[in-house]
């Protein structure tokens, strides 16, 4: 079971040029809005046509510009969960789900499948409701039921949780994972969603895939400025190599020790807001307090290094409420292992 994609398409502002392969499980594509994520999914589903390239699904050719193959979406066996779920507004929940089974000619089988899907997705009692009468979570479950009764070979999820309230989001993320066995490609701009749901994550920027990595490895070592910011790092600054395990950050006016050897091409460094410590042994420098913002369980403290250049933006330090010092410390530091080296 695998999906192979290698396509190019000219878009308005940039060129979409991507290549990846699924290896079972959930592959996340993490990117800012307008980077070509949704377009990628649409090309796979056959809604948009790439300029050139190939798309293979379980050995079947869905698209091949050289062999002039371009299967219509109806024949691709690709399930697509749209961002707004795209339920047919004039049909009931039951009719919507039956749309996914219109090829099944045996009526008894169809009814049987329908009832199974309704039970599986906890839609009992909602069969006769119309989409506009459902909550966001119910709409999502209906859309998934409709897709899964159609037995797709791969599932494409386009920002599946962005239309939901935040308290529903995490609950449904867990539920969603239990329900499918086929490969999934999920597009998202949320690092939390990617971290929760995807075994592997690819970072996308302006139509290019920067890296496809194990999700945890990606968060531990994003490798590029874009990936670093998309994975949620708030403190990124240009840097240059000054030693085998040392970089200088001119805008911050400090030098930092690193745990990994610094390669020649280093462009920037990042330090996540959680990783500053009052009692760090290394990389500790004088800081000045700028302001703070309260969150339910954390404080976000804005500060600057004493020698920081005036036009560099302030840094963020996230500190849990129970570990917040009574007074703002004179010095802050970060362990060398938490200094992320960025090469692109």
């Amino acid at each position: 079971m695998s999906l192979f994609v290698d396509i190019e398409k000219r878009l308005q502002d940039f060129r979409l040029k991507i290549r990846f392969e699924t290896e079972g499980g959930v592959l996340g594509i993490l990117g800012a809005s307008g980077c070509g994520k949704s377009m990628t999914l649409k090309c796979i589903a056959g809604i948009e046509r790439p300029d050139r390239g190939r798309i293979l699904l379980n050995g079947r050719t869905l698209f091949d510009s050289e062999k002039k193959i371009d299967l219509p979406p109806q024949k691709r066996k690709v399930g697509y969960l749209f961002q707004n779920y795209a339920l047919f507004p004039n049909m009931t929940v039951q009719q919507n789900i039956l749309c996914g089974m219109h090829k099944e000619t045996d009526k008894a089988k169809r009814i049987n499948e329908l009832q199974k899907a309704i039970r599986l997705f906890r839609l009992d009692g909602l069969e006769k409701q119309r989409p506009c009468q459902l909550s966001g979570g119910q709409q999502q479950r209906t859309a998934l039921a409709r897709i899964l009764v159609n037995r797709p070979q791969v599932l494409l999820l386009d920002e599946p949780f962005s239309a939901l309230d935040s308290h529903l989001r995490e609950k449904l993320q867990l539920e969603l994972l239990e329900r499918f066995s086929q490969d999934v490609v999920m597009v998202t701009h949320s690092r939390d969603e990617a971290y929760h749901m995807c075994q592997r994550t690819a970072v996308m920027d302006c139509g290019r895939l920067l890296s496809v990595k194990n999700t945890k490895a990606l968060f531990a070592d994003p490798g590029s400025v874009c990936a670093c910011i998309l994975t949620g790092c708030k403190n990124v600054t240009p840097a240059r190599k000054t030693g085998e395990y040392e970089v200088e950050a001119p805008d911050w006016g400090i030098r930092l020790q690193t745990a990994q050897p610094v390669l020649d091409g280093v462009k920037a460094i990042g330090i996540r807001a959680h990783y500053f410590h009052v009692k760090a042994n290394q990389n500790r420098y004088p800081v000045e307090y700028l302001g703070e913002m309260e969150e339910p369980f954390e404080w976000i403290v804005k500060f600057r290094w004493r020698n920081q250049s005036s036009d560099a933006p302030p840094l963020w330090w996230r500190v849990p409420k129970d570990r917040r010092p009574a007074e703002f410390p004179a010095q802050l530091g970060a362990a060398p292992v938490n200094v992320l080296l960025l090469y692109e």
């Binding site: 979406p73 024949k75 697509y80 795209a86 047919f88 004039n90 219109h102």
Partner: protein, 221 residues
């Protein structure tokens, strides 16, 4: 009282309404997906009958279908003659009513959420099925409005009709041409009777539309 004009008006309006319904939707559907430039040009051509005086439309129809014109004489060989026949009225009414159907249907299609059609495609539904079961019901209100407008316009058509088929009692007379003819011949009471008939039809049509729309609205909230 001779009821022929009522019968004739109704069959002309009904026939042209059906014709315009399909033709308008077809044109609107394909026009909505054309590139902007071509769409603009086509739009002007297809909407022209709406802004031209109906008599000018009638003039153009006579140019095309007059029995001495190439197209008219060609059709006459098969016994089809639009001038001075009752079914010529269908042609005149359709020409004038078409833009109303076309424009309202196009407006409805343009507000249609294309992701619904894409979702249908990925679920394996055929394009014909998507059109009739998803696109049309979603655009129902606009299409219904267009149909009613087209029917009303066809029923009240005077200018192009009188140019093309004239007024022959018991043959090509419609309500609107009859009203004019009776008024012209000083039969004020006769004209008034037909005015009342016309009013009655219009009210019935409008009431029917309101009744048709209401149940769907409550479902949609």
């Amino acid at each position: 009282m001779d009821w022929y004009p009522l019968f004739n008006s109704l069959r002309i309006a009904a026939a042209s309404c059906i014709l315009v319904f399909f033709l308008g939707i077809l044109c609107a559907y394909y026009a909505a997906r054309l590139p902007r430039m071509i769409k603009g040009v086509l739009d002007v051509a297809l909407t022209l009958p709406m802004v031209l005086p109906p008599t000018v439309c009638g003039y153009f129809l006579l140019l095309a279908f007059g029995i001495k014109r190439p197209l008219g004489s060609f059709l006459a060989r098969f016994g089809i003659q639009f001038v001075m026949t009752w079914y010529g009225g269908i042609l005149a009414a359709s020409a004038v009513a078409f833009p109303l159907m076309y424009r309202t249907a196009r407006g409805a299609f343009e507000t249609f959420d294309e992701t619904l059609a894409c979702a249908g495609q990925t679920l394996g539904l055929s394009n014909t099925c998507i059109f009739w079961r998803i696109r049309m019901p979603a655009c129902r209100q606009g299409i219904l409005a267009g149909t009613v407008l087209a029917f009303a316009r066809a029923l009240g058509e005077y200018g192009a009709t009188s140019m093309l088929i004239g007024y022959t009692p018991g043959k090509t007379a419609t309500i609107s041409t009859t009203v004019y003819q009776l008024w012209r011949t000083n039969d004020e009471a006769g004209a008034f009777r037909w005015v009342l008939v016309n009013l009655a039809i219009s009210i019935v049509v409008l009431l029917a539309v309101n009744l048709l729309e209401r149940p769907q609205r409550t479902v949609k909230k």
